[in-house]
Symmetry: C2
Subunit: 224 residues, 2 copies
């Protein structure tokens, strides 16, 4: 194993053992280089890796600081309940921002319109919701899109009242630069990608295909 990898492990041990105070100065690159008898560049790479993972933040000229660990939100990955309802039921302060852009057009091939929303909890972005709405069922979706914050509310307004989803697929991916900006995260923060279809229980019509990108560091997922 490389020196860098071993240093990362050792620093993680110390961090999880509580040896460093939150928001106080982490030992500098030079200090750690001296302590571990490693080149400063090796130490810097290890520290930058820990920054990438969200443990540290740095200010040029000042130093590096330990980030407070954010509390994980427990999310049930199951059932037809909307994300909004789940969060409200658990007492979280959820906010939704519509990421409408006039540039987005209907996908002619599969007749869907992509409507994206950014979800915040406690003023922090935690998920990107991408709904690929079935244009055949909702022909005016492109015009309606700028004002929508709840898809379920939109469906109810259009006469659909009971929903289910036919399973979901979960995978892990890294964020693109756009997603990094939206979610205010680093490029090595894994995102949980959850893909499913929302179906009307009565008519069995597919209303939308959904892709939700969750920051994996903000959630623990309960499975039934």
């Amino acid at each position: 194993m490389s020196s860098e990898a071993l240093l990362i492990d050792e620093l993680l041990k110390r961090i999880t053992a509580g040896e460093y105070q939150l928001n106080e100065k982490f030992p500098s690159e030079n200090r750690l280089a001296e302590e571990f008898q490693l080149p400063r560049i090796t130490v810097r790479k290890a520290l930058q890796h820990l920054e990438g993972r969200g443990y540290l933040y740095s200010v040029r000229g000042k130093g590096r600081y330990l980030k407070p660990e954010s509390e994980s939100i427990h999310l049930h990955l199951s059932g037809g309940e909307s994300f909004t309802d789940k969060m409200l039921a658990s007492g979280y302060d959820l906010k939704t921002v519509n990421l409408f852009s006039p540039d987005i057009e209907i996908n002619q091939e599969n007749q869907t319109y992509m409507l994206a929303r950014l979800r915040y909890i406690n003023e922090e972005p935690i998920a990107i919701h991408q709904s690929y709405v079935n244009v055949e069922v909702f022909p005016t979706i492109q015009n309606d899109a700028p004002t929508i914050t709840s898809m379920f509310a939109y469906y109810r307004a259009h006469g659909f009242h009971h929903f289910t989803n036919n399973g979901a697929v979960l995978s892990v991916q890294f964020p693109s630069t756009d997603e990094q900006e939206l979610l205010k995260c680093n490029n090595i923060l894994p995102l949980i990608c959850l893909e499913s279809q929302t179906v009307c229980e009565e008519t069995k019509k597919i209303l939308e295909r959904t892709c939700i990108l969750y920051r994996s560091d903000k959630f623990k997922y309960r499975l039934r």
Copy 2:
């Protein structure tokens, strides 16, 4: 956004668009530095990031090469079925290696014994199974441990025949150096961590607490 981040995005676009041949030379650091008018060190960082994510591998003096993308295994995250049964049912060539070590002792605090197994598919390590076996139910587990490859078989041999689990919790973490060596992966490959308890249906005894670490790049997970 930094130059490095934008370069990563652009190279990923090209990779997914199929612009590079598998196992053929990827453009060199100098070549890309010239093309994008960036310092070589910026290009190198971007390429090392892609290496970390598993897209590329490098040979000093020779060059960098695109790795073939491995097929994702679809795994159902549900039910009491064992991992072994699920993989065999899907036709995968699963192999299990017991990671027995005489150094591992019974945890006196919660009376469990940690038995770890490494899972291979097509000769590639894909998951680490850690079973924290209830010593009160299996007092001879420490002696039995070296020869166990199937926990369910072990339980059946001890008179337990029907199992369930009381939900599971899924989270994402990065591998430690030990886990990196076992799974033959880089330090930024996210691992899916699935924690659950295996319970005997008849007696309701907790047989084990399980923690499975899956390479997230090898699996897509189906939820019911």
